[in-house]
């Protein structure tokens, strides 16, 4: 969904986000296109840590994002501005994902494997 992709890039802006899922690190940075890089980001504006199980619980609406953060299932570190930008980018990503015909298959792939 090209328009949604551009919307997500606008939301991300110059922010670099480091993501840790069950100890697997990767980073996201924007620009003309979204770049996903394995490993630590080095310098990042926001760092998000969670687990596959917590992500699936969020996607299954077993808990809300605010509940997940308060319970420690999702941890977010960074300045307030960077955290807000990361949150807006997440929302833009989810809006794009629910419009994308490819996403049900990606979600099914995420579900396979141990929680």
């Amino acid at each position: 969904m090209p328009a949604s992709y551009r919307h997500m890039l606008e939301a991300l802006g110059p922010l670099v986000v480091e993501v840790d899922v069950d100890g697997e690190l990767f980073s996201l940075r924007g620009g003309r296109r979204l770049e996903v890089t394995d490993g630590p980001a080095g310098v990042s504006g926001a760092r998000i840590a969670s687990s596959r199980a917590a992500i699936l619980d969020l996607l299954d609406a077993k808990l809300g994002l605010d509940e997940a953060v308060q319970a420690g299932a999702v941890s977010v570190c960074g300045s307030l501005d960077d955290i807000l930008r990361a949150h807006d980018t997440l929302l833009a990503y989810v809006h794009a994902a629910v419009r994308a015909p490819s996403h049900p298959e990606l979600l099914a792939a995420l579900r396979t494997g141990p929680r």
Binding site: A3, L58, L59, D60, G64, L91, A92, H95, R99, P101
Partner: protein, 341 residues
């Protein structure tokens, strides 16, 4: 009665969506009332643009049920290749699910193994259908046909429980047209059926507003007595008021991932909806009190970062009045759909 339904209620998509697919939508909607539960079943077809720019039909099946406590259920999206419409436009097949239009009603088969939902229902019409054509909806138009009262027989397995239907009352509407979710419109659509099986009355209410719900564009109240329409109250004859807020979070949000973008649990499902209609000596006063609701959410087709939420609410209803000199006074159940754009 036997030929009326088959002549009126056929699947429009193969003709209308092929001719002009942009924004075309069609759905078949059923609500079954049991003393201790409500079941909502919806087959929908939505014309969407694929990544290569070509239109494609996206079918979905929704099944949700409300017991004494809460709404639960599932929604499943299918690929266009899993959709089939019979040549006579009377059978809609979506994966293992099927909706058949019969001369005297409908047969619905549900098979959603990913949600552990299965069932078979026969819905026999107990009232004449009523159709409204080409009503404005935002920038588009929608037509609909509804059957306010049917008899449901069959079974449904959902939430680990099996529900049996034996002569339970049900409601059906079929909608088709071209418009975009998220356009400048909202609606309240409700059906009230009596709790007592021998009570002859059925009511359907509809109100269309702009998206901000500041202007009422259309509203009407239809009343049936047994299988015949008893009164139709046009817009000028109907007064509607909403009171308070239910103040309760949704029982569920479907599909679940949409909860991430809906920004919290606050909703504007009212505490009470009051409908008063008078015309030519007939008068009806209906009061619906929502008890709980499920959110059915989908992406806006107008804004990339907005969603459209349909709140399917169930609750109690009280109806009083007089039509053609006959008094109306019954309590019943209502299922109201609130689309607040």
């Amino acid at each position: 009665m036997s030929a009326v339904l088959a002549r009126s209620d056929f699947i429009r998509t193969p003709v209308l969506a092929t001719a002009r697919p942009d924004g075309f939508k069609e759905w078949y909607h059923f609500v079954v009332h049991r003393p201790d539960s409500r079941i909502l079943i919806n087959f929908s077809l939505n014309s969407e643009v694929s990544t290569d720019g070509r239109p494609r039909l996206t079918p979905r099946v929704i099944v949700i049920a409300h017991d004494d406590q809460r709404w639960t259920g599932g929604i499943e999206r299918f690929e266009e290749a899993e959709l089939d419409v019979s040549a006579d436009l009377g059978v809609l097949t979506v994966g293992g699910n099927r909706m058949t239009v019969r001369p005297d009603g409908y047969r619905v088969v549900i098979d959603l193994p990913g949600h552990d939902i299965r069932g078979e229902l026969d819905l026999t019409s107990m009232s004449r259908p009523f159709a409204v054509n080409n009503q404005p909806v935002g920038d588009g138009r929608v037509s609909w046909l509804f059957v306010p009262r049917l008899r449901a027989d069959g079974w449904l397995r959902i939430g680990g429980q099996e529900i049996r239907f034996e002569g339970n009352v049900a409601y059906h509407d079929h909608n088709w047209g071209r418009f975009r979710w998220g356009g400048d419109f909202s609606w309240t659509w409700g059906a009230i059926l009596p709790s007592g099986p021998d009570d002859p009355w059925s009511l359907v209410f509809q109100q269309m507003t702009d998206r901000r719900r500041l202007r009422c564009l259309y509203q009407a109240l239809w009343v049936w007595r047994h299988d015949e329409p008893a009164a139709i109250f046009p817009p000028a004859a109907v007064q509607t008021r909403s009171h308070g807020l239910l103040g309760r979070a949704a029982d569920c949000t479907l599909p679940p991932p949409m909860r991430l973008v809906l920004g919290g649990e606050a909703s504007d499902v009212p505490e009470r909806i009051e409908i008063a209609a008078t015309r030519a000596g007939d008068a009806v006063h209906a009061e619906f009190k929502p008890q709980s609701y499920a959110r059915l959410a989908q992406p806006s087709e107008v804004c990339l970062d907005r969603s459209v939420v349909l709140c399917e609410s169930n609750g109690s209803a009280r109806v009083t009045g007089s039509i053609n000199g006959e008094d109306i006074d019954f309590v019943g159940d209502g299922v109201f759909e609130l689309l607040h754009g």
